[in-house]
Symmetry: C2
Subunit: 234 residues, 2 copies
Amino acid sequence: MPKAQSIADEVRRRIVELKWRQGERIPDEADLAVEFDAARATVNKALQVLADEGLLDRKRRAGTRVAINPVSKATFSIPIVREQVEEAGMAYSHRVVAQRLSPIPAQIAARLGLPEGELLVHLRAVHYADGKPYQLEDRWLNPRAAPGLQQAGFRDLNANEWLVRNAPYLRAEFSFSAENADRRDARLLQTRQGQALLILHRTTWNDLGPITTVRVAFQPGHRFGAGEGRDHAG
Amino acid sequence: MPKAQSIADEVRRRIVELKWRQGERIPDEADLAVEFDAARATVNKALQVLADEGLLDRKRRAGTRVAINPVSKATFSIPIVREQVEEAGMAYSHRVVAQRLSPIPAQIAARLGLPEGELLVHLRAVHYADGKPYQLEDRWLNPRAAPGLQQAGFRDLNANEWLVRNAPYLRAEFSFSAENADRRDARLLQTRQGQALLILHRTTWNDLGPITTVRVAFQPGHRFGAGEGRDHAG
DNA sequence: CTTCAAAATAAGTATAGACATATCTGCTGT
DNA sequence: ACAGCAGATATGTCTATACTTATTTTGAAG
């Protein structure tokens, strides 16, 4: 095991076992280097890891303190829905329900930071697993931030897959909420009106501007998990 | 701006602008060190950052490639609800609805990795903002993993706050789902039965075992956001 | 042509040394 | 008492060097 990592583990252990308490100052890098018989750079690396994890707060001259409230990093992948379904051993299919160039409403404009009424591609599609609705996408696409999108053809484009493979992004925003299924949601997901649905809003940007924003409505009962250090799907 | 960071930014730019495409091999550390006039250690640090972000896949001898699978990291903190409410300029209050030592049902046992029937503290509480229900907690606490919990007294304990301040954890798991409010949810959140509720399940562990698992039901309409990512696509 | 071992390679890790920079502490003079 | 400056100090960053380790390539032996 790498030395830096074993130092990080030991420091983590001391924090979890309350040997070093929240808000308390811990020995400086030089002292720890002596204690662990390592170079200062190695101790520095270990402590930086813990600071990234949110366990330590570090400030020049002021030293290193145990963070007051720890932060958890969860990892989301933006999955290719087809692969996700197939990995679960089910047959994937996909249907584009609607698709046209359309002026964006105020709410979407605000989310994207574009002027209201700008023309973007509006796409509604359903992903199926073994013929049953799996998730429902309501998506706006900005061809200006994703050159090549026009050529990809919109007729039966699987936007999710095309974007994952062709449009790297610099920034993303996620939010979760819950909504009662309206008439359309219920019809497309083949469930009853009023059914509680987990809704994920996701927007991505690159240096040319917003790429896409999407509202994903999951199949009733779906659980979206995120555990520390693990890759998870959605 | 630190050199390592500007190298990372430049590499990121080349990926986003498709100069280096997915799956493609990028120059090795030594070559990049020459190009950017830096030591190899500095280039290494920059590329490690990008690999952590999920943008690059690195393997000894095989070199560094642009990652195929997009991964986005979002950071959750476990908030102190009281502070969250007060920061929004509202008055916080809190009510413990039920609380007793109770054998855990199978579902909770499975989630915690403990034997069914083990005695844990079961707690139900409501957090209020300006007198209106803000969120509803249904929590199981393991005193064995959080010594001092007994002394903290369960009568009107704000478990959320006590835990954040006194029980650092090593691992956490989150999941989101949506549920229609049942009778009890509706009563405690002062909403109608059937209302779609965003549900967060959260479990934390330290080296002594599971600390707590909690089901949080948010006020109707609540949106749980997580921003900041940096990778691929859609 | 196959198998397997040795060589080459690129990343992984650690080190000592140096300098930069933020910020805390204490001193100084008014 | 107080403002402001000077030093001290802990972390931030970079470099050159060395050695380690996983993996691919090569090439020799069967």
